[in-house]
Symmetry: C2
Subunit: 445 residues, 2 copies
């Protein structure tokens, strides 16, 4: 497995000849228009033909180099660590480990230059969020630095094992995982299945707006995540993000029941068929909302780690006119499981049934979820559902499709045989199946 630990930063060749470096402040002149911003590093796709700058409003803009003139305004400043005031931490603060995986939350913006670079040192965190020094004694560890859209099931294993190491070896009160928001819901589900009988909270946290933007949620989210990891009375895998568009409160959402439901809003993460576990009010008070949460435990050795995932599972969303090829490809690549995002209560077009039967003939486990996202699959109501059940399709109850996919990958890696995969898929393992539909409805109304 290859994990991109950091990127080599470079600028397009024509700009290198001008002695420009990434994050220098530059002026781009195109015809009568002048743009100012920070010179962004070149990428494989942009290559030497394009130049991109990050403007002061936080947005990037790209230009064809042949059409513009680029001028230096100011060289980037080196970060002067010696400028920092020494930290005076309280003694006996709870210990929290922050694991970095990449994403906006793990990017530090140097305010003097505006440059964004991966950084997750405890010093950086205390400097950016002084309140942390009242809450926890923080150590950090960067596992890798990827955009979360590049997440893979094998990286979930790396994260799970790293958390287990920290939990078992030491006296940490909780673990925070800094993660890009794009796939944070998938990873939260993965860790929920991989880490069982947890003695301390594991908190995933991200940021929807980078810390160079006035509306950034990075600092408050991190503060809340560390607070939950340090002090929460429950030992659950959870996501901490903004509850609304205001900075008034953060929500703590169950790892198997959380989903990114907005591209850009700070309150993008919503519970699906679940209520929030807790709320962090004004970055200080933790209010527990849910009942029956797993309590903290002193017995670190009790932790069970099932960190393997078998990525040979597919997520297939059906739609009007879906052709057999869109469904049957997992057979040809030797996949072992398929999660269908059906319509309504868990239906697929009857013209897709022969494809689904082929899965059965190839020993592929098929599970049904709903593209409605909210609500519970009930395949007993209409003929299509009943026929799918008869074929052996597993109803995923009130699991949303992404959690069902992650669970399928986990079951395939950890069950002894196909029958155990099916049994586990229908068994509540990490809060992913609520025993009954409470008709809490869309977004917990």
């Amino acid at each position: 497995m290859v994990i991109e630990l950091s990127e080599e930063l470079d600028v397009p060749s024509p700009l290198k000849q001008l002695n420009l470096e990434p994050y220098d402040r530059v002026r781009i002149i195109k015809g009568h228009m002048i743009y100012e911003g920070l010179l962004m590093p070149k990428t494989e796709i942009l290559g030497d033909e394009y130049v991109m700058i990050k403007m002061d409003n936080g947005y990037n803009i790209g230009f064809r180099l042949s059409e513009v003139r680029v001028e230096l305004i100011a060289k980037k400043h080196a970060v002067k660590f010696e400028d920092r005031r020494p930290l005076e931490l309280k003694v006996d603060l709870p210990k929290v480990v922050v694991l970095g995986t990449g994403g906006t939350i793990a990017s530090k913006v140097e305010y003097k230059t505006g440059a964004v670079y991966p950084s997750l040192s405890a010093e950086d965190l205390y400097e950016a969020i002084p309140e942390l020094s009242e809450i926890a004694s923080i150590s950090t560890r960067t596992l890798f630095n990827i955009l979360s859209e590049d997440m893979r099931p094998e990286y979930w294993s790396v994260i799970a094992k790293a958390i287990a190491e920290e939990v078992v070896k030491g006296d940490v009160s909780g673990v925070v995982v800094a993660h890009g928001t794009d796939t944070m819901g998938y990873t939260a589900a993965a860790l929920s299945f991989a880490l069982q009988r947890l003695p301390v909270p594991v908190v995933l946290v991200g940021a929807q707006r980078s810390s160079d933007r006035p509306s950034s949620d990075a600092a408050l989210n991190m503060l809340g995540a560390v607070l939950v990891a340090a002090r929460a009375p429950f030992a659950e895998v959870a996501v901490v993000m903004h509850e609304s568009t205001s900075d008034e409160s953060l929500v703590v959402l169950r790892g198997t029941k959380v989903r990114k439901c907005h591209t850009s809003r700070r309150d993008a993460f919503k519970p699906v068929n679940d209520t929030p576990l807790a709320r962090v009010v004004r970055g200080r008070e933790l209010v527990v909302l849910a009942k029956g949460l797993r309590p903290r435990s002193e017995d670190r050795k009790d932790l069970k780690v099932y960190a393997n995932f078998d990525a040979r599972a597919a997520l297939i969303k059906v739609y009007p006119g879906i052709p057999p090829e869109a469904i049957e490809w997992p057979i040809h690549v030797g996949y072992r499981g398929v999660v269908i995002e059906g319509t309504g209560l868990g239906h697929a077009p009857s013209y897709a049934f022969s494809s689904i039967k082929k899965f059965m003939d190839h020993g592929i486990v098929v599970a049904m979820t709903s593209q409605c996202i909210w609500g519970r699959v009930n395949m007993n109501v209409y003929r299509t559902g009943v026929e799918l059940l008869r074929m052996g399709v597993i109803p995923c109850e009130d699991m949303h499709p992404e959690t069902a996919l992650v669970k399928m990958m986990w079951c395939l890696a950890n069950a002894r045989d196909e029958e155990e995969v099916k049994r586990l898929m229908m068994t509540n393992i990490a809060g992913e199946i609520n025993p009954r539909t409470e008709y809490r409805g869309v977004l917990g109304e």
Copy 2:
């Protein structure tokens, strides 16, 4: 094209020998348990080995015939149409045509027997919903009778053409399309693109609970749909369904901006990145909420019908670990368009880029939406997005994935060439693209 117009109803052979017929009331004896209900017709999959009954609570339950004894309680009753009181309609009521396509809303339950059968006569509607006789002079026409999970793009064309016929030939004030809820959002989008310069409203309506259940929403939804078709001052394609769990109000939602967001709740249909067009209060009052709606017009000939869809377009949802085979299959079956359900602001894993490049090499148009569903795609913010834009991927703005797929199928059938498909995808045609993100947020909060 073959459309299943109605099903031949039959019972499993062993029961036929007992002179049992579909919808007879029967008793099933299994060991010490006795179940009562209506004998359901046999299906291809259930075949002669199984028997299914509909119990009085509205749910179906199936048994292996070899394990039970089946006894007749009462023969089904014939519906006596002569029992009905003659209708006394007001004169000069607006004319509304109700087109039947199938689904729960178009099923009539005969209360004497509990039998469910496809029915959509004006007499049935007036009998079930007496208030209708104050609102409209209704005629009905059954186009086909399918479960909506079996909907196909070619059926959208049939519906669009039938609506156009009714609108152009006559003096109808509006058209109602009775539709199963599973794929009603897709069809609503399809009709929005197919029927342009509409002179009257076109209202899709469904029911989440069949009319044999106490909580059925069938009657109120149909009442609201006919009211909107008859009286709304706007000529838009819209969906009418419950606004909340109460019967207090119905919402009227734009056809390109509506999505089924709950498997079973009556208020499952929500606007995505949009506000409701109107509200129907207590089944009587119509309150218009949105501005800039297309007004009714007297000029029926102004209607433009573009009823064709090219089904060679795929919807692909990306997820951690998605393999090339899950992405590239459209190339091998000669597809012309792909809508990606990316993560976050419109991203795909960088390990999927080579597959996406292959689409470009094969002249396949690729468009990007977000699996977040709410919010707007913005591919300028992060590197992954910028690189996808550079490859030629089209950002679908604030369209949700299902509407983008329907639009792609429509563009492929109606544009002259690939460039026009791309241009149309980025042009607002039927309210599917809001010119700017209003950060109305998830579910219009």
